[in-house]
Symmetry: D2
Subunit: 344 residues, 4 copies
């Protein structure tokens, strides 16, 4: 961390400030005296140093972090890719490209069972489906909740596909014991109390980027889970909010190579939520693979116009079969292999 002091600060002030920084933060401070300004360099582990309390000092002109504030999720300290392997070919990371498919919401037994069978047949390695649904309006369908989880388990029993489903409160954790991957939605990316609880689980956590969160903040939220003891985190880019209105969100495709460079965690992309339009799912899925993604989350519904949520962005099982086939044709040229189920 580099601290630039304002002109006119005396040597005594610098010494006192340096001593204060050292005692409060357990770091070593080097002072470099220039003609017009003095620069302090903080050596040691500065991840926990509060940059704002330093900026609040009258004598400070500006502060710059040199070291990244995330450690456990940082590729510098863990060069090898984290691989999430749930068995029978359902693998995320390590050269595999996995498709996570299923409806936005679980609606009834036959809906989720039929879609699960269909997407497995077409090449999905994981089944997604929402039981607890975050909806902007309190008057909209809120999900089947506990009974939705039950229906997901039922679909897994029939198909073997591991389940990915969203949690909305630490109070519901007891219901998620039999879920394979727990998803944290975009609106809860900085629900830190939830992240801390998930850090105590021994299940993989699929963490979606918030609508207005930076890439660094996404990594810091992964860090919350990992600092609490859970190393199995999957990062998900699902679009950010911008001024553009033709898409529901703006897919930040650059986040994929940046996350892969700075972190060892698997990165998946959700082209359905990013665009909000089913016809955009295929081109954005292609772009995600080309940019280096380890997986895709694709919403599939057997009857989009009657879906209880997010119908506009769901593809039909037929469309999914074609998209999945295209993915199969393309992954090889980008050095990946499709995560394929071995229990079919």
């Amino acid at each position: 961390m580099i601290i630039v002091l304002k002109p006119g600060v005396t040597r005594e002030q610098v010494d006192q400030f340096s001593a204060d920084l050292e005692s409060r933060n357990g770091v070593k401070v080097n002072a470099w005296y220039g003609e017009h300004s003095t620069v302090l360099g903080l050596l040691g582990d500065t991840a926990a140093v509060d940059i704002e309390s330093i900026q609040a000092q009258d004598m400070v002109e500006s502060v710059k972090r040199v070291q990244e504030p995330y450690k456990k999720s940082n590729r510098k300290f863990h060069p090898d890719d984290t691989v999430i392997d749930l068995g029978n070919g359902s693998v995320l990371g390590g050269g595999k490209l996995a498709i996570i498919a299923g409806p936005c919401s679980v609606e009834n037994e036959s809906q989720i069972a039929d879609i699960a069978a269909d997407v497995k047949e077409s090449g999905a390695a994981f089944l997604r489906g929402g039981a607890f649904k975050p909806r902007t309006s309190p008057y909209a369908f809120q999900g089947l909740r506990a009974s939705g989880l039950e229906l997901l388990r039922h679909a897994r029993q029939k198909t073997g596909l591991p389940i990915v489903t969203e949690i909305m409160s630490p109070a519901h954790l007891v219901l998620f014991e039999d879920v394979d991957i727990i998803q944290v939605g975009a609106r809860n990316m900085q629900n830190f109390e939830l992240l801390k609880e998930l850090g105590k689980c021994d299940k993989p956590i699929l963490l979606k980027r918030g609508l207005a969160n930076t890439i660094e903040e996404l990594l810091m939220s992964a860090e919350y889970i990992m600092a609490a003891g859970n190393d199995q985190v999957i990062l998900c880019e699902r679009g950010i909010r911008t001024f553009e209105t033709m898409t529901r969100n703006t897919l930040d495709i650059s986040a994929v190579p940046i996350l892969k460079k700075h972190s060892h965690l698997p990165v998946v992309v959700d082209p359905s939520h990013a665009s909000g339009h089913s016809w955009l799912v295929e081109p954005l899925a292609m772009a995600a693979i080309a940019a280096g993604a380890d997986g895709l989350i694709i919403e599939v519904h057997n009857d989009p116009p009657h879906a209880l949520s997010d119908g506009a962005q769901s593809v039909t099982p037929d469309q999914f079969r074609r998209i999945s086939a295209r993915i199969g044709e393309v992954v090889g040229v980008f050095g990946k292999e499709l995560s394929a189920r071995t229990d079919r």
Copy 2:
């Protein structure tokens, strides 16, 4: 709600779609046939109609909501201002301008007690202070938690000022029984499970706008609390995320008159978080009053450089006294009166 159909849709398709809409949503559908396109008008209560499932229909060109999707927070249905009156002059709304002041984090007994006494003396009607702190980094100070609430109660005992403090999880509600106003932070504005629980309380809820949330979404989150039974909601504009980097966030000053027009709930502004710089607190506070705000949240710390969080945006008790005095000089010209404590 107005639905524009694509060209070439037959009368039979229109009839079937209309019947479907009527039976699913309990509305009445009028069809108007034009030369090139057909337009459907939905009459009745469309707040719960899922706009996305309609957009998913192949025959639909576009959908437009005419009616606002919020009802309980809507001024149309409740023309009179909601007033939050906690006694002894601590009033929000109804022509009063209230100042909520205090440190970002509660740090120790003397800190919070001293600041409370200072800000009361200078004109604050409420005491704020964070016990549970949402921090981007898991390595940063997370607040004193339960013991911070204890220190706040102690400060209230000494000064009489009602306490405003943030909740981060429904699991903590039991600790907040003796808090006067519960705050929902920007990162939890769409933590819907938390909102539902707060809807069951009989305390006022101060709801902060999320960093990337629209004004309508803020009203929909208020609606969550109100639909669950709690009518005492205070709305807070605290800046949104934009490309501008000179301020921490961009204060959306237009949100103030828009919220006051569309809702009957009190509206407060947080110039400290909006700007991130203590020197901007005064001009932004002035702008907020001029735009029609019912209250201000101002961070005050007796030693900003050593604050455990957000020091850069905190003013000192001396600066606060001057700002508060300026507010007192200005409110009258905007038709408001300063909320003044009667127990001093």
Copy 3:
């Protein structure tokens, strides 16, 4: 265009407003009377109807455009792809993928000539290079201007590569007579007087999307050029401004399939400006091809650290050769063929 009127508007008011709309806009107005509101449908060519003057009417609740406001750039009216063919294999559109490569700024004779020879050798079909440079600071290098154009012509003479270079003022048009493709930079996307002048040229115009412009506004700016008589427009996505700071801009990859769907014009992507980092050029170029782009603009500099502008995002000729080879390996799987020079 659909106009929703406020409740309580009388039939007489509707008749008068409709007659007014018809006489002012040359359209036909159909009125549909509902229980709570009246809806007007405007039939005919509404591209020139001023939506804002309608919104200003007291009796108007809201207005919705059904028809796209762009016509000449609209694929609906011109289903076939526009192809820009400058001969000898330098082709944009129609199943070809063209690479436009070269330095941000032309700096001297050997620099541009050497880079031109290098990029041609590696597979570029066009040479780019800036002679007039839009710089944020008046104190930064402003380009070699007229003599830069001269050096570009010299490089074309040696390599045969058609030249793409940016214009900044209609007053400079006389200097661009011998340029092959004239580029309009992001900051001038809505410099309408410049667009009108370019509409009178018989050269292809490469139009870059503005930093805060919507996809529809990009098409409307293309429409300015086309409405003035020039049908040869190439659209360029180069990143938009968002809150994310890890990249210079946020590449809006969704713009590629959306532009290809709504318009018949060729679409190119500039991964260099979008990201601002040379290491991101390759993954973003891959994503652009996968999303359906017709071309790529890549900054190449023989000595990035000493480039007079934008060095951080330039790749070296060696890096470019590798990226170009990767592009050659990948285009086939996306149904395209690399635009290859026949004069080598």
Copy 4:
């Protein structure tokens, strides 16, 4: 300017790089060697140093500018406020609050003359009106152009009010010789060729902030005009683009105190364009004054529903009279005096 080098850079590399920086930029370089990294401090005038070419260096970790890159517009070097005084009480800056009022577009002789007389009567100190109109669509009304300027001069002759009107191309400068203040619109804020030409004029330039431009970029565009010789620049905040859709743009009210702190130039606010709604003009005008603005630009039209552009945001002469009266009641409490015409 502070340059942090990557770990492992040798002393020799540092020496060579430092020598290179000194010879290229005319600055002095101090090197401070730390345990893990080396930091270079550049002393002297770094305004023209190209930060990007430094970032392109392999050995560079990051670069931080300490000195602001703007000089002539910087309050540090010109502590006194710039005052624009056009005589007879039409004054911007120096404790005066001036209202610039008039229609979006000049439409005909009586329209502009009547509005001019009305707004003067109500307290405006300047007359605005568009003759050259930047419109998103080539099919929309483009302004009366030269004859619009003629009508503005006519209105000035009758009322004495100085004219503010927008220029769109350097080629039109010859027509603007008799204009009092030349406006640069938001879309042309970085039309650098235009700015350079305006720097050669001896007229005040009202420079509007671009939709996606930072406060620093606005100051850099002012710097273009000033570096070319024209010191009379007025800065205008008129809203930036964000995700919020309830307003046309988001008024960045914080820009007002920030511009006043960092620059000596007068700052005006345009609440009409910022909001896009006439009912928001008054509250936003109040907020602007409270935040420290030196002036307001308010669109006034005698018949908003039939305005040829931007009707929805125009107030009527009656509404303007009331707003102007409110402004008169409020300015005093913020230490300003209304700029009042002495020739009435």
